[in-house]
């Protein structure tokens, strides 16, 4: 079966952790992970500048490893990420901001990717906001 995940909660609300565990389970049980769409506060998971303490997970790094190992598509919604200050180099340039902070494993795209995921997956699982 083909799964799409929607992550709407900020990294520390648990939503991103749960989605990460679920994403791994989809792969280990032999199903297909079509797309992980980070929306609303979920986009904060893509912040490459986060420095968690040693005894805590770096959820941004976890998602990056999953992307590299299993070629999972990680999309952050452009409207949500602009508002919240998650920029890649293109958006940083467009709005002449001095820096960008989106992890390389994450790709900025529009809400169309959420709808496309809904139309082309068998199951869409939402990991809720606070």
């Amino acid at each position: 079966m083909r799964f799409a995940l929607v992550v709407q909660g900020a990294p520390f609300s648990g939503a991103s952790f749960s989605a990460y565990h679920f994403a791994n389970a989809v792969i280990t049980t032999g199903h297909e992970l079509y797309r992980v769409f980070f929306y609303q506060d979920g986009v904060y998971s893509g912040n490459a500048l986060s420095v968690p303490p040693q005894d805590e997970w770096d959820i941004q790094l976890k998602w990056e490893q999953l992307h590299l190992r299993h070629d999972v598509e990680l999309i952050v919604c452009i409207a949500s990420s602009l508002r919240r200050g998650l920029l890649d180099s293109t958006e940083a340039e467009r709005y002449d901001k001095p820096a960008h902070n989106l992890g390389s494993a994450f790709e900025i795209s529009g809400l169309g990717q959420l709808i496309d995921a809904s139309l082309n997956s068998d199951r869409v699982i939402t990991f809720g906001p606070c």
């Binding site: 079966m1 799964f3 709407q8 909660g9 609300s13 648990g14 939503a15 749960s18 565990h21 679920f22 791994n24 389970a25 989809v26 280990t28 049980t29 199903h31 068998d122 199951r123 869409v124 699982i125 939402t126 990991f127 809720g128 906001p129 606070c130």
Partner: protein
């Protein structure tokens, strides 16, 4: 048939209440994150109506120290069981 997921504590937010209100007979519930507090024994959060069809994620149960404090009609599952459950229901609806 719908698989409902709830990730909020029943004493703090209304998510579980609304879920139970609109849950059909054949539907099931997965409690995750703070939602697992609804599975605590000796307190009635209305889960009796869905008895036998309520699952709770093990990692969230353990993190919160609830493993020895659960109602006996709660089915504790891992993430791989959660994925399988999603394939057994037509739609997954999250209450947050």
């Amino acid at each position: 048939m719908i698989l409902h997921t709830v990730n909020k504590s029943p004493l703090r937010e209304s998510s579980l209440g609304s879920c139970l209100q609109f849950m059909a007979q054949a539907d099931a519930i997965v409690l995750l994150e703070d939602g697992v507090y609804a599975a605590i024994k000796n307190v009635d959060f209305g889960l009796g109506a869905a008895s036998g069809r309520v699952y709770a994620l093990e990692s969230d149960i353990k993190a919160r120290g609830l493993d020895a404090r659960l109602r006996d009609d709660i089915k504790v599952i891992g993430y791989e069981d959660f994925v399988t459950l999603c394939t057994e229901y037509d739609v997954v609806k999250s209450w947050s």
